[in-house]
Amino acid sequence: MTVSFDQLKAGDGIDGPRFAVSRESIRLFCDGSLDYNPLHLDDEYMKGNFGKTNFGGIIMHGMNNFGLLTRMLTDWATPPSAIHRRLETRWLKPVRPGDTIQPTGIIKSKQVTTKSRWVLIDVMVKNQNGEQVAIGEAMVEFPVATAAA
């Protein structure tokens, strides 16, 4: 169902796409993003320590979370002619091959400005155990309809 600015209210939810993470999906993200950091490729390298962190194996790109959140937001915003304007994210846990992750959003508030209308959304990505792997916030603009024909 297409949402409208007037009907939206705080607490409304947005469901994003489930995404199965595998060595192949991570490799494909390397090719799609040109990010070939060995964090995502090299099992031997990942046995080592990173400062105080040991990941224990290759991990998914944090920006894969970002890409899935973007996909959720743009798919949600496109039908009502709204525009995805901002996304801020923080990673909480590494994601590994075999995990299944899903982005979701919850409408936090609405704001009318001098020239437009905005919806603020709390976003998160959870893994198959219900653990948050990424959190953040987004802004989607619902432009005021210009003189309709």
Partner: protein, 163 residues
């Protein structure tokens, strides 16, 4: 070493160890100093491959006829295309490519979409650096432009530097 998929720039160096010793470590990164960047021609093939990697199916990015009838009058890239543009516009000796660089979070604002055929340029710098809980952080800020000088998007991120 693995070659980048042909959908991406064919001469992209996928071995991030190459030139690793010529990259700046945390101590040498000067906040405020512009980073050297490379212009990048964004192709529909590169957009399609990026879309595949995150499972994008929105016709605005992939279906020329539907995109033509849509709000942008033609195909566009998803907003998150800056994930690709960041590396596409970064030379091999840049610290952003240092193996073990850990992304700690990002924030991006979107102005207009990138389109296939655009020649993208990046203005970027380290903005700040700090130490927290024995980890070395660098804040980087970035603005992507199209060939008309229009801002596509701007963003800021934090990385934890390899030690």
């Amino acid at each position: 070493m693995a070659q980048a998929s042909s959908a991406q720039s064919a001469d992209f160096e996928t071995d991030f160890w190459k030139d690793a010793t010529s990259r700046k470590v945390w101590d040498e990164i000067v906040p405020g100093e512009p980073r050297k960047t490379l212009p990048y021609k964004l192709t529909q093939e590169a957009i399609a491959l990026f879309c595949k990697a995150v499972g994008e199916t929105n016709p605005l990015y992939l279906d020329e006829a539907a995109a033509k009838a849509g709000p942008y009058g033609g195909l566009v890239a998803p907003p998150s295309i800056h994930i690709l543009l960041m590396f596409a516009c970064t030379p091999t000796d840049d610290w952003m490519r240092s193996p073990g660089t850990v992304n700690a979070g990002q924030s991006w604002s979107y102005n207009i979409p990138a389109r296939p055929g655009d020649t993208i340029t990046l203005q970027a710098r380290a903005l700040d650096k700090f130490i927290r809980r024995e980890r070395l952080f660098v804040v980087h800020d970035n603005v992507f432009f199209n060939q008309h000088g229009d801002v596509i998007c701007s963003g800021r991120g934090q990385t934890i530097r390899p030690m």
